[in-house]
């Protein structure tokens, strides 16, 4: 897949289309064998989904798994007859995990590839940087980012996040369990940038509502590669360390925490974002044994996994340990990538509701998406049931709390959707289309 910009799994597996970049997308299409007949008949032409992928830059570890999950979902959708009877084709452009390039890529999808939608962005700054381009091009933009940006209603009417719960909701739904099971005095350690600020801002009120409190907040600059010097700021009476670190330095963080505390440590509660794509059995992570993590979708296969979850894992190609089948060292980003799968099924549903025919129906697609209210657990939504708030373009689902036990993550608690609901901050549907 690496060398190919497009893939159409239902037809010939990976369709090689390297000779693209005709001035018009139509010309490019005509050059590729196997696509000629589509240009005659609009009704059977594939639905084109522009996938804004982090192939290079800081997000590259996520981008690869997002691509894998997307490929699996598209394969499944196409095998079942596609969307509105049309096959789905995914066109990938790398955004370099850069907001400037991200906006250019959205423009490229809109004006050169002429895709029907743009999809798949993870990193928040790329989402926010690309959102204006999506709005101006009137291009429905389905992100899988978990940031609170969409639900904040600061973006625009064309941006949706229907496949993964936003971080504000995630944090809020963790509070009851932490207060009841881990401890009442919580010290937070988080990166000193926007992703960390969500945790900084949303956890204290949520804990307070549960009778617990945040006694210290330690923000760590994003450029930091060593953390020990911050640990003395952790108050001695801390019962729970709530940690959420991202980026390549996170292993160091855990190891140094281990060296600092040894076996005599407070409870640990972390967000899986820290260890996505990282083997939980890496040297130095023994320290995490017995600690708890938020997980979006469980990395390890659980005893009570639904049939849908099992089918999803098989389709994406991850084994019981959440690593690539055949390569146990290639650990997936299970907590987030399910969002790609589910988002594509939301797109499918909305397109079918809207009777979507082509780019001229994009406004109808937006309205049809906004009209959605709930997604039932099942093959299309293997992570669990969700509700969808069309006014803020955001879905809300259940969250998992898992314990590290014997080198695996075992789900010990599932939150309720209601735990994560909050007051809407605005209403996109009042904006013009």
């Amino acid at each position: 897949m690496d060398k190919n910009k497009t893939f159409n799994l239902s037809k010939t597996g990976l369709t090689r289309r390297t000779a693209l970049k005709g001035l018009a997308a139509g010309a490019g299409l005509a050059m590729a064998p196997g696509f000629v007949r589509y240009s005659q008949a609009q009704s059977s032409a594939p639905i084109k989904i522009g996938f804004q992928s982090h192939r290079t830059g800081i997000g590259a570890a996520y981008g690869r798994w997002y691509e894998k999950t997307t490929a699996a979902a598209v394969k499944a959708i196409n095998a079942a007859g596609g969307i509105n009877g049309r096959q789905v084709e995914v066109i990938i452009e790398d955004d370099g995990t850069d907001p400037g390039r991200g906006a250019e890529v959205v423009g490229k999808f809109a004006t050169q590839h002429k895709t029907d939608i743009v999809f798949g962005t993870l990193f928040s700054h790329v989402v926010i940087g690309s959102a204006p381009a999506a709005g101006e091009n009137k291009m429905p933009y389905f992100v899988v980012s978990e940031g609170h940006h969409v639900a904040s209603t600061k973006l625009n009417r064309y941006v949706f996040q229907p496949g993964i719960t936003d971080v504000k909701s995630q944090i809020q739904s963790m509070a009851p369990w932490i207060a009841a099971n881990a401890g009442k005095k919580v010290t937070q350690i988080f990166p000193d940038f926007a992703f960390g600020y969500d945790h900084r801002d949303y956890l204290p009120p949520a804990l307070k509502a549960q009778g617990a409190e945040v006694i210290a907040q330690i923000a760590i600059p994003p450029t930091e590669s060593s953390f020990t010097k911050y640990f003395p700021q952790i108050p001695a009476e801390t019962e729970v360390i709530y940690h959420v670190m991202v980026g390549p330095a996170v292993l160091t963080f855990v190891k140094e925490l281990g060296e600092f505390y040894g076996s005599n440590r407070p409870q640990l509660f972390g967000f899986m974002d820290s260890l996505e794509a990282v083997d939980i059995n890496s040297p130095g992570l023994e320290f995490l044994d017995g600690s708890h993590f938020w997980e979006g979708s469980p990395r390890y296969a659980q005893a009570d996994d639904s049939a849908a979850q099992k089918a999803y894992r098989a389709a994406v190609g991850i084994d019981d340990n959440g690593a690539a089948v055949g390569d146990p060292k290639d650990v997936s980003t299970a907590s987030h990538m399910f969002g790609c799968w589910e988002t594509l099924y939301v797109v499918k549903k909305a397109m079918e509701d809207a009777g979507y025919k082509g780019p001229e129906d994009r406004a109808k697609l937006v309205e049809a998406t906004e009209a959605l209210t709930a997604f039932a657990e099942g093959p299309e939504h293997p992570q669990g049931p969700k509700t969808f708030n069309g006014k803020i373009h955001q879905c809300f689902g259940i969250q998992n709390i898992s314990k590290v036990e014997g080198g695996k993550l075992k789900v010990v608690h599932k939150t309720k959707i209601e735990d994560g609901l909050y007051e809407a901050e605005g209403d996109y549907t009042k904006q013009a289309l």
Binding site: K5, K21, D94, E104, H125, I128, G129, P132, N156, F193
Partner: protein, 320 residues
């Protein structure tokens, strides 16, 4: 620089502006949008070239000037609710003030120390954006709302999010800065700057206050870069810290070196070239940075003075 052929030079520059104008009507949609962006960033490169090409001062911190314009204009709209013209001026003013302060400090150093000092000031600027995240939006950045990006003239309104308006606005800014650059370069002041680049000690002994002249150049350069940043915020609707990161300090250097330092049109050519290489190669392989890297090395091996610099050296000596 010589007195010869001013007409030729002006004709060439007006021709390029005319070409860009015509391109607006013939380019396919995608390249039309891309070129608007390139023109705005070429202004950034031209501002950089002012200092690097003509005065010989290699700064690794120009992202802060671009960022000053970007945030000056963007935050004026987002936080203060100002209109587009006021925001644009605010962005430029931020760049002018910042470049004056930075110039006063950094010009006490020369050579590599100047590189490092400018880089460090830019790093401070970048960290300040993160530190005041409540205001700036930090690393995630913020969207400049689409309804605010309209130039209201009472009777008519120019919507900066409209592709044609955006292209023409970018072209207007680009043309203005191009002609200003040309005028500066051909002026007596431009000759003094080149004198400083070639031999500062000698220029001083001809009675020039080289510090003031360099300071002036830093301010002009920083202000042009800020104009580019302000235009970027207004035309493309996003302000974010990545535009103030060290990468955006290296990019204009790269564009200028590719196109040809100390040529007026080189920055545009370098920017177009770099964008084109990335756009084309990223279509073939995700390892496009590899190709970009190889292209850079080949270019510097075989076109050591940049594309236009080499052309000037070999064929067209009159190019400004």
């Amino acid at each position: 620089m010589s007195e010869a052929s001013p007409a030729k030079a002006y004709a060439l520059h007006l021709g390029i502006i005319a070409l860009l104008f015509v391109l607006s009507f013939v380019l396919p949609e995608y390249y039309h949008g891309l070129l608007a962006r390139i023109m705005v960033l070429a202004v950034f490169a031209m501002g950089y070239n002012m200092l690097f090409g003509y005065v010989g001062l290699l700064s690794l911190g120009h992202a802060m000037f671009f960022g000053a314009g970007l945030y000056g204009a963007g935050l004026a709209i987002i936080q203060l609710g100002w209109g587009v013209p006021a925001a644009f001026i605010a962005g430029i003013a931020c760049g002018a003030v910042l470049s004056l302060i930075i110039g006063l400090l950094a010009l006490r150093t020369t050579g590599v120390a100047f590189m490092i000092v400018t880089m460090m000031f830019a790093q401070v600027f970048y960290l300040l954006i993160l530190y005041f995240a409540n205001w700036t939006g930090g690393d995630q950045g913020q969207v400049v709302p689409q309804p605010a990006r309209v130039l209201d003239f009472g009777a008519t309104a120019l919507d900066l999010t409209n592709p044609t308006v955006r292209y023409m606005t970018a072209l207007a800014l680009f043309s203005f800065v191009l002609l200003v650059t040309l005028a500066i370069v051909r002026s007596r002041y431009g000759r003094v700057l080149v004198g400083i680049r070639e031999n500062e000690e000698r220029t001083k002994m001809l009675g020039y206050d080289t510090f003031s002249n360099k300071l002036m150049a830093v301010v002009v350069s920083g202000t042009i870069c800020a104009a580019s940043g302000a235009a970027y915020a207004l035309l493309f609707g996003y302000v974010g810290s990545s535009f103030a990161s060290v990468q955006y300090s290296i990019l204009p250097l790269l564009w200028v070196l590719l196109g040809g330092a100390a040529t007026t049109i080189g920055p545009l050519i370098g920017t177009v070239f770099m964008y084109y290489v990335i756009d084309v190669t990223s279509g073939y392989t995700s390892a496009y940075l590899l190709i970009v890297g190889i292209a850079l090395i080949l270019l510097v091996l075989f076109f050591p003075k940049g594309i236009l610099g080499t052309i000037r050296q070999r064929w067209l000596g009159w190019l400004p």
